[in-house]
């Protein structure tokens, strides 16, 4: 097997699994319980959270652990204040997590917050559905990207009107790997804040970023990026699925989506996922340790692949994560290529796995002005720790063979 879809999922690293194991059995205690063994687990849980926080230049108390990145994104947007935000009835409408539509279809979707308030939210048009769908419910306005996938800063500036409270821009795109200039965006935000202060405009202005794809590929520091809210995901960095975290600065005041026992400072009730967080922390440690080595390795593999493949157009030329290669084979249907490659035990994807499974055209590829033909012919290849250099050579060979075969069928 040659697995080239690390942006969709990563296997749990053996060292991560080993770190988690005791917490399923021997150290299973509820961290909130009174006796000493439980207190020990509680301390280790907090320690693990600290490790994750330190990795992004934050404190343990700045993190809210969630069940994955989708929930973290949903939670981040509760920082939006609405005209009637203090009323408890309005809050009670909020606890529905939206994203990829895996959960049961909810008729209450349109009843969520944000229909009546005048405040605004901006999000990048190429965001993942777990941002897009929530943003739409808050009446969000999409900010354009340039044809290279990078945010159009002029469009952003033009759209930050006085009612804008929150801006959401992912650190790196999940379909094409484009890295967004978060520091530039936060500079713009600082200028706007100064201007608003001078004019006596009191509206908050927060920056949220979904960094799910980037945690093991970029050196992330919340202060350097200038973000108020940052989403992290264990499942993309060789940690367990269903574990994520939201960094929350002092500026951002969130409202809980789930209430109950008051865990995570009341923002995310529910018994702590101790093994998940222990595993997440270990995965983050490993990611930091191997960051530079991996980046070099992936850059080299990308060169190899691009040199050995034939008859493609490169879609993500610049400003992207080192392990992302997005290619278009003009005139071919990439979905057919996926099934043909699957027969050869080479696993790649088109766009986001979730969008592909719904049969939708990629909104990301459309946003970077690709034609329908180009979109249909686009493949996403993402390297990772399951690969080695020999596999990259082999993959190039197999892809060339499959593409040639499919081209012959189309032309014949």
């Amino acid at each position: 097997m040659i697995y080239l879809d690390h942006a969709a999922a990563t296997p749990v690293d053996a060292r991560v699994l080993k770190a988690m194991e005791p917490y399923f059995t021997d150290d299973f205690f509820n961290p909130s319980a009174a006796y000493l063994p439980a207190k020990k687990v509680s301390a280790e849980y907090e320690e693990a959270k600290s490790k994750i926080a330190h990795a992004i230049g934050a404190k343990q108390s700045d993190l809210v652990i969630t069940a994955g990145a989708t929930e973290a994104n949903n939670l981040a947007f509760t920082a939006m204040t609405t005209r009637k935000c203090s009323s408890s009835s309005e809050r009670s409408l909020a606890p529905v997590v939206t994203g990829l539509g895996r959960s049961v279809f909810s008729t209450s979707e349109n009843m969520l917050l944000g229909r009546e308030h005048s405040s605004r939210l901006l999000y990048l048009e190429t965001e993942h559905d777990s941002v897009r769908r929530v943003a739409e419910q808050y009446g969000g306005l999409a900010v354009k990207v340039l044809p290279n996938g990078v945010i159009d800063l002029e469009d952003l500036k033009a759209k930050i009107t006085d009612d804008v409270q929150l801006i959401s821009v992912s650190l790196a795109n999940n379909e094409i790997g484009t890295i967004q200039p978060l520091a530039d965006i936060s500079s713009i935000i600082r200028e706007v804040k100064i201007d608003r202060y001078k004019r006596g405009v009191k509206t908050q202005l927060l920056l949220h970023s979904d960094a799910s794809q980037a945690l093991n590929l970029l050196d992330i520091n919340v202060a350097r990026l200038g973000v108020d809210l940052l989403t992290l995901n264990a499942a993309k960095v060789y940690g367990p699925k269903g574990v994520g975290a939201l960094y929350v600065s002092h500026e951002a005041k969130l409202k809980p989506l789930t209430v109950g026992g008051g865990q995570e400072k009341g923002l995310r009730s529910g018994t702590e996922n101790v093994p998940g967080v222990i595993g997440f922390a270990r995965a983050v440690e490993l990611a930091k340790e191997h960051l530079n080595g991996n980046r070099k390795k992936y850059t080299n593999w990308r060169k190899i692949l691009l040199a050995e493949l034939e008859g493609y157009e490169l879609i993500n030329k610049k400003h992207c994560l080192d392990n992302f290669v997005v290619l278009c084979f003009p005139g071919l249907d990439a979905e057919r290529l996926i099934y043909l490659l699957e027969d050869e035990k080479v696993y790649v994807s088109t766009g986001a796995a979730c969008a592909a499974s719904k049969g939708e055209k990629s909104h990301v590829l459309a946003a970077i002005s690709l034609s329908d033909d180009q979109i249909a012919g686009s493949l996403r290849i993402t390297f990772g720790e399951t690969n080695d250099e020999a596999q990259i050579h082999e993959a190039a060979k197999i892809i060339n063979r499959v593409v040639a075969k499919e081209r012959a069928r189309v032309n014949g």
């Binding site: 279809f105 979905e335 057919r336 099934y339 043909l340 699957e342 027969d343 499974s357 049969g359 069928r409």
Partner: protein, 368 residues
């Protein structure tokens, strides 16, 4: 020059094997996924995207062209709206029959022909013998009940590649040929709305009022129902009446929203020895051969046989199927009425009675 076949591929094993057989027989095969319905319902995720992926994966494996044709609007208008209308009127319609008549063997057929097809094909268990619609070899799977209303024109351009096979043979072949969906669970009924889901589906679209359940003999109120339209004559489950013996639905008064039940299986409302059919459709070619045997030589030649209403007065001996996979019952068709030798359990109005002469499907009608 190889003939071109457009085959409807649902992602299931039957249509996949159909495409495979056509390819092996040397046709130029084009796989089409008909997108008829994609909306999720509360608690039910519509599997259309997964079905589409399954169909496409097989098409790629076979190395054939593949397209998605969107019939959602037509399906809604011709099938779903018909179904809702009929349920509201207190009938029990069969949407699959309507889907074959209006979508698969009409819109799909017409579009395929426009694109230059010589034939269309589907994964139905049915056969065409001498141009006539005939039951499948696998009696357990025969799907002619759903096909009796398709047009003669479409039928003459239709191939049923698996009609001569049994389901186990189809699965085995799929497995041998490495089709990934060999053991995929079969879809049931209207798209994804199986029998279990029909009530939930209807609740989404029809505002039904709760009403009384009365015993027919005594008029006594035994309980309450969620809406008379959800009940079918003969039904004995889901009545929520506390009793030691089962009650059967024997009658519905849609206007008063009352469901009548009886614990007497011999209640006259439950049984009948005749059924009146509406929209009787007799398959012209099929009927001719059956009629020929039925009529005395002297009576022959006085006009074309086989036009339903015109033939009144002439009785025809037929086999009748009242539900998909139900046993074949002998009956005499006289005009628009079926006469049975023995009393049968009364089928719900709106369902179809499909007529056969041996293995040939003669057509059928909708039970009034």
């Amino acid at each position: 020059m190889a003939k071109t076949v457009y085959v409807g591929m649902s992602g299931g094993v039957d249509s996949s094997v159909s495409a495979l057989l056509l390819k092996e027989q040397g046709y130029k095969v084009v796989g089409i996924y008909m997108k008829n319905w994609s909306k999720d319902l509360p608690g039910m995720k519509c599997p259309w995207a997964e079905d589409l992926a399954d169909a496409k994966r097989v098409a790629v494996k076979l190395g054939i062209d593949f397209e998605v044709w969107d019939f959602e609007e037509a399906y809604r208008e011709k099938v779903v709206e018909y179904m809702l209308r009929e349920f509201k009127a207190g009938n029990t319609p069969n949407p699959d029959i309507m889907c074959n008549q209006e979508i698969k063997f009409k819109l799909f057929y017409e579009k395929a022909m426009e694109k230059g097809a010589d034939f269309i094909a589907t994964g139905h268990y049915a056969r065409v013998i001498d141009g006539k619609l005939a039951r499948a070899v696998d009696e357990n799977k025969d799907q002619t009940y759903f096909l009796y209303r398709i047009s003669e024109e479409a039928l003459t351009h239709t191939l049923f590649p698996i009609g001569g096979m049994t389901k186990p043979e189809v699965k085995k072949l799929a497995e041998e040929k490495g089709l990934h969906n060999a053991y995929k669970k079969e879809s049931m009924g209207v798209c994804f709305v199986g029998e279990v889901g029909m009530k939930d589906f209807l609740k989404e679209y029809i505002d039904a009022e709760p009403g009384e359940i009365r015993e027919i003999e005594t008029e006594k109120v035994l309980g309450y129902h969620e809406g008379a339209i959800f009940y079918t004559i003969g039904q004995r489950h889901g009545l929520y009446i506390a009793a030691e013996v089962p009650y059967y639905v024997v009658k519905k008064d849609i206007k008063k929203n009352v469901v009548y039940v009886s614990k007497n299986l011999n209640n006259g409302e439950l049984w009948t020895s005749e059924l009146r059919l509406e929209d009787l459709l007799l398959r012209f070619g099929a009927f001719r051969s059956a009629a020929a045997r039925e009529l005395a030589p002297a009576a022959r030649g006085d006009g074309p046989a086989g036009r339903g209403p015109e033939r009144s007065g002439r009785a025809l001996s037929v086999l009748v199927r009242l539900r998909h996979r139900a046993p074949l019952i002998p009956a005499i068709l006289d005009g628009n009425t079926l006469h049975f030798e023995h009393e049968i359990k009364r089928p719900a109005s709106g369902q179809s009675a499909v007529l056969y002469d041996g293995e040939i499907c003669l057509g059928g009608g909708i039970i009034a």
